[in-house]
């Protein structure tokens, strides 16, 4: 047994590949079978991740979640800032200048409004609930954009792990709410044509949530929502740790 443990510790990153793969396999099944696709797989998987972090923190008493348990130290490598930012940059690959033109002025405006509204509403909530420093406020506001923008922003401006965890959770809540609420409100907000779907994708931006929400409303609308939502996370990662952070820094 000791040999196995030592061996697994030595190969931490590879262990992490296996562990995350299994987590996503379970999350995918939970999403599809138990939750009837209402909550998208990434959201379920990230909740699993947060739960694992809680368990890890309880077992070890450390601050790095499950990575403080030696067997799972590779999760810290896989989820570290270098791999994370590298993978996130690659998501811009689906976007192109041609797509940008296609989404046009309405895409650009709904993206801007979507990010500004999410950021400042999220930030106001954090303010009311007792967070008064610029770094934490900006990170939670960024989390209200998407669960990617939050941690990217938090890491860039030096937020604490606790606040980054909150920003991830905030983004997951958003994605879940968008996925569940969209089919319920679609009619009332006139979400029944490609044009409205493009506005919707830009305003909400949280990719998994937008796609799940539109798929449940009308599968034909998914590509139109995805067209604008593709740019949301990138634009958020650009604006939140720069312009928005500087604004908040001067105000607070």
């Amino acid at each position: 047994m000791e040999i196995v443990l030592k061996f697994l510790e030595k190969n931490g990153l590879v262990v992490a590949f296996l562990v995350v793969g299994l987590m996503i396999l379970v999350a995918d099944n939970v999403s599809k079978r138990l939750l009837n696709k209402k909550v998208p797989t990434p959201a379920v998987a990230i909740v699993f991740g947060l739960l694992l972090a809680y368990v890890g923190g309880t077992i070890s008493g450390g601050e790095k979640g499950i990575a403080d348990v030696k067997l799972f130290s590779g999760m810290g490598q896989l989820g570290g800032s270098m791999f994370r930012d590298f993978a996130i940059v690659s998501t811009a690959f689906g976007a192109s200048i041609l797509l940008m033109r296609k989404s046009g002025l309405v895409g650009a405006i709904s993206l801007m409004i979507g990010i500004v509204v999410a950021f400042f509403v999220g930030l106001s909530v954090a303010w009311v609930m007792g967070y008064h420093d610029a770094v934490s406020l900006t990170t939670i506001g960024a989390g209200a954009c998407t669960y990617i923008v939050g941690p990217v922003t938090g890491a860039a401006i030096g937020a604490s792990s606790e606040v980054i965890a909150l920003s991830i959770a905030t983004g997951v809540v958003k994605a879940t709410v968008v996925a569940i609420a969209t089919p319920l409100f679609a009619k009332r907000i006139g979400l029944d044509n490609p044009h409205a779907a493009m506005v919707f994708g830009g305003i909400m931006g949280t990719n998994a949530g937008v796609m799940a929400g539109l798929a449940a409303t009308d599968p034909k609308l998914v590509p139109y929502g995805a067209l604008t939502a593709t740019f949301y996370t990138g634009l958020g990662c650009l604006l939140c740790p720069s312009v928005f952070y500087l604004i908040i820094r001067t105000i607070v």
């Binding site: 990230i46 972090a53 890890g56 990575a67 590298f86 690959f93 909530v125 979400l191 506005v199 740790p241």
Partner: protein
């Protein structure tokens, strides 16, 4: 070759991130200001340019696509290494800060849809 794609991604990542670092120090902020965003912009521009030149074969693309597909797993790993135990006590922040913006956003959609109704509708 696959490595061309990975290297291209690495190039965009490094240039964007270092730009963010410099911007941070230039602005006097101890932060990487928008590095990931700049890297993404650069990738979009380089990608569009290479595509026009016809220099982006499918293997090169798959070198980038692989990382594109890995980002959710990486985010899951990242989530599992945060200090969640400490964050749980303020979980209400996450619930409200996640749900409230969505509610506000729903209201803006009908107005935006109307304001930007495409004039050349068939």
């Amino acid at each position: 070759m696959v490595i061309y794609g990975v290297a291209l991604l690495a190039f965009c990542y490094l240039v964007g991130q270092i730009f963010g670092e410099y911007l941070g120090s230039w602005l006097g902020v101890e932060a990487n200001v928008g590095g990931v965003g700049f890297a993404m912009l650069l990738l979009i521009v380089v990608n569009s340019w290479l595509e026009k030149q016809g220099k982006l074969d499918s293997l090169t693309q798959s070198g980038i696509q692989f990382w594109n597909q890995m980002y959710i797993p990486i985010i899951v790993a990242m989530a599992s290494t945060q200090n969640v135990k400490l964050a749980v006590s303020s979980g209400a922040v996450a619930l409200l800060a996640g749900a409230l913006p969505v509610a506000v956003c729903y209201f803006t959609i009908p107005y935006l849809t109307k304001a930007f109704k495409p004039s050349t509708e068939q």
